[in-house]
Structure formats: structure tokens, C-alpha cells
Amino acid sequence: MNPMVFGGVQCSRSTSSDLQPASCANSSGQAIWEKAEALKRLGGDEDLLRELCQIFLEESPKHLQKLREAIADADAQATMRAAHNLKGELGYLGAAGATQAAQELEDMGHQQTLSRAAEVFTFLERELASLHIALRNSDGASL
């Protein structure tokens, strides 16, 4: 497996076999999401965190779809906006790898250089898939 570097965060291409249970690391050893960090930011309010995870599970596919379309249309402005929205939410959940990728896409949109966008998008999509699984597994059980 060839490691890819996204903005200094080293990760490897995840495959379906890399998808692991809740709060486990991705293949680069980085946690899919830092639940403790997110909970701390919410002042320890577990109910609120559960609610936010629910909202994220519902909303993020829409953001991802917008982002996919923006990149396909080579629309830098729309790419920046969609990536920006995703970044905010991901940052809140402490999903470092995905946040980093969203940040890169936002920057690419901002600089109007989308040549590597599809590549980063693929990575982001996989990170999000892992995150969805992690959040679902986390919901109800440990939360």
C-alpha cells in the first residue's frame, strides 16, 4: 500500500477491510473520530452529542453529494462552500483525517486549483464511510 500525503497527515488508502469498529483508528493509526474530545467540547453533554451524531448521519451525505457535484462541474466556489460546511461539522466531532481532507478541498476551491480534488474527495468519502460506521456503532452502546 502506498501511503498518500494530504496536507501533512499521512494516511493510507482505506479499503472496506480497513473499516473498523467504533473509535478505532484508521489504517494510518489515526482515530476516525475523537469522541472524548467532542464530548469535552460539548461540556460532557452526552445527550447533545448523540443528537448531533444523528444530525450528522442524516446531513453529511447531502454535503458529500454537493461536493461531488461541485468537483464534477469543476465549480471552485461551490467546492469551497461544500467542503467548508463539511469541515466545520467534522472538526466538531474530532474527525481529524476527514477534517484535514475537507480543509484541503476548501483550500483548493479557494485557490481555484481543482486538479487533485477528485483524489482527495475519494479519500474523504472513505473516511466518512468509516466515520458513519463508527458513529452508528457508538450510538446507543457507549454513548
Partner: protein, 339 residues
């Protein structure tokens, strides 16, 4: 006032001081951040209005009793946070709004752009509860200070225009009102009149019963004068025991009727004071504005005419109403008939 509950670090004593409604507007298109803000602010006992875009925020802020504290996301569809700040600041009237801008960018240029657009403060995502609480608290403090300032300003304005003893307009204010109403009446072609009333033998009341009783008499007479005119007429204390009333949209004959009603109402029953009932009477001189255009009598002339008539009433023994000579030439109602 303190709503802190032990064991819950999220509580914030944000009381409803100085009548400020404890309400806040959130404009945020992202459902996660909207929910976080809503949840925290509600926990801190705020009444929260949450909207999803700038246009809805603008509409919410235009309503009566709209929140005065607004948390606005920078990036929103339609009207974004920056444009919204500008739009709110361009609005001249209405209570001051405290605007807290939310941004996911932390660059210096963005912060400067936000503050220059009219934001009072900004908050960078992802923020935590403590930071939001501190920023919101600072906003409330500013709004409370501003509320106190407006209150003090209004009180000063009232004091500057009112007579301390009687609560009537003071001399400066009643003359300003006369000036304004004189111009306005001339412009719309409505008759205007002034009534100068003076307490008869007030010096004797002061000498016999003392100044405290004298003051009580002045207060009661002021009250009776107010009660005998329409609630949109202006009654002022012109001097020691002299009262000037300005009546708009009032014909010369109605002016005479009103003056007579004042005279009767004041003298009808004695004034009850701490030193017993004291019978009082007033003398009245009145003057009507009877010209328009370049011949318009200035307010000083009107007052002088009414004063001259008042002296005539005094010279005839007091407790009576006299017209100014100018009125006699144009007004069919005779001063002799007024007694």
C-alpha cells in the same frame, strides 16, 4: 438573580436586568452548529430564535420585541453574515443590536472585514461552551449598559423639559412647543391660541400659610389646569405662579370657552392643603393667532398679547378672562360676555 446550580458547570447567571428581554437570535445554516448553539443558550436560560439563513434572520430582527443579541454565521446562503451586519448597521432607528459573527476561518483579514461590516465580536468555529458563554456575557453587558444609558438620557431629557414642582412643561420647553406648533398650525392653516393664567393673590397665600403650602397650591392648580384642557394641549409653568397653555386647532371662540372652563374649574372648590382648605382663583389673558403668511405673529408677540390681556383681567379685580386687543377686532365673542 443567580441561577447557578451546583454540579452543572454550564449554568450562567444571566438575569433579566434592566428590562432587557433575555432573548437571542441564531442565524446558522448548518444544523449541527445551530443545534449546539440552541442547546447551550437554552441551558443558559435564553429564549432562542433559530433561523437557517440571512434573510430569515433579517425578517426576525425587524419584528417588534426582536432579540437584541444576534449570533450570525459568516457563510450562509442568500444573505451572509457580513452582508447582514452591514444591513443592520445601515438601519438608523431601533434599539442597538449586538452582533456576534461566527466564522470557521480565523484569518486576520476576515476578522477585520467582519468587524468593519459592523459585527461587535466574532467567534471562531469550533468554539466551546466557555468561550461562547464569555462572548455572550460580554454582549449582554454592552446591551445592559446601553439600556441604562438610554434610560438616563430619557430621564435627563424629561428633567430638562419639565418643571420640577408641578411636572408641567417648563418655560423653555413650553416656548419651544409654542414655536413649533405656531409654525405647524400656520402651515396647515389651523387656528392656534395661547392662554396665560395667573394665580390671584398668591403672595398672600405664601405669606399667610408659608411656602410649603404655596407649593401645594401651585401643584393642585397645575393639576386642575391640565384636567380642564384636551389631552393634546400643552400646559407649562411660565413663571412663579404663571401658567401658559398652548392650544392647537382651536378657534378664538373655543379658546375663550376653554379659558372660562379653566377659570371655573380652578375656583370651584378650595384647594385642600396641610394647613386647611384655601380658596383660589385665577386671572386669564388669551391671544389667538389670527394671521397667516408673512403677518404670522411670532410666539413672543402672542405671549405678550396674552400677558397684556392678563394684566387687564387683574386690573379689573381678577378671577376673570380677558382677550388681547387684537382678538377683539376679529373675534365676535366679547370679552364682557366671558365673565
Amino acid at each position: 438573580m443567580n441561577i447557578f446550580q451546583p454540579g452543572d458547570g454550564m449554568e450562567l447567571p444571566l438575569g433579566n436586568k434592566s428590562g432587557l428581554p433575555n432573548s437571542v437570535l441564531i442565524a446558522e445554516d448548518d444544523p449541527i452548529f445551530r443545534r449546539i448553539l440552541e442547546s447551550w443558550l437554552q441551558k443558559w436560560n435564553f429564549q432562542v430564535t433559530a433561523v437557517e439563513n440571512g434573510l430569515d434572520a433579517w425578517k426576525a430582527l425587524q419584528q417588534e420585541n426582536a432579540p437584541r443579541l444576534a449570533i450570525l454565521d459568516w457563510m450562509m446562503p442568500g444573505l451572509d453574515g457580513i452582508e447582514l451586519c452591514r444591513k443592520i448597521r445601515n438601519q438608523a432607528q431601533g434599539a442597538y443590536k449586538y452582533l456576534l459573527l461566527l466564522t470557521a476561518r480565523g484569518s486576520k483579514e476576515d476578522v477585520v472585514a467582519g468587524l468593519e461590516a459592523g459585527a461587535d465580536d466574532y467567534l471562531t468555529k469550533p468554539f466551546d461552551a466557555n468561550e461562547l458563554r464569555a462572548r455572550v456575557r460580554a454582549g449582554k453587558r454592552i446591551l445592559e449598559l446601553q439600556g441604562e444609558l438610554v434610560k438616563a438620557h430619557n430621564e435627563l431629557q424629561f428633567e430638562a423639559a419639565h418643571d420640577h414642582l408641578t411636572g408641567l412643561w417648563n418655560r423653555g420647553a413650553i416656548m419651544d412647543l409654542l414655536h413649533r406648533e405656531n409654525q405647524r398650525s400656520a402651515r396647515i392653516g389651523e387656528p392656534l391660541g395661547v392662554i396665560m393664567a395667573d394665580l390671584d393673590h398668591f403672595k398672600q397665600i405664601n405669606d399667610s400659610y408659608g411656602h410649603q403650602t404655596g407649593d401645594a397650591v401651585l401643584r393642585e392648580v397645575a393639576q386642575r389646569l391640565l384636567e380642564s384642557v384636551r389631552n393634546y394641549d400643552y400646559v407649562g409653568r411660565y413663571g412663579g405662579e404663571e401658567f401658559l397653555t398652548v392650544l392647537t386647532a382651536c378657534t378664538a371662540s373655543n379658546l375663550a370657552i376653554t379659558a372660562e372652563r379653566m377659570r371655573v374649574y380652578v375656583s370651584e372648590k378650595p384647594v385642600e392643603t396641610g394647613t386647611g382648605p384655601i380658596p383660589v382663583t385665577i386671572s386669564i389673558g388669551l391671544a389667538a393667532q389670527h394671521a397667516v403668511g408673512p403677518d404670522l405673529a411670532r410666539e413672543e408677540e402672542l405671549v405678550r398679547s396674552a400677558d397684556t390681556a392678563l394684566y387687564a383681567a387683574k386690573a379689573s379685580g381678577g378671577n376673570r378672562v380677558e382677550h388681547s386687543p387684537e382678538n377683539l377686532s376679529t373675534d365676535p365673542v366679547h370679552s364682557a360676555a366671558l365673565r
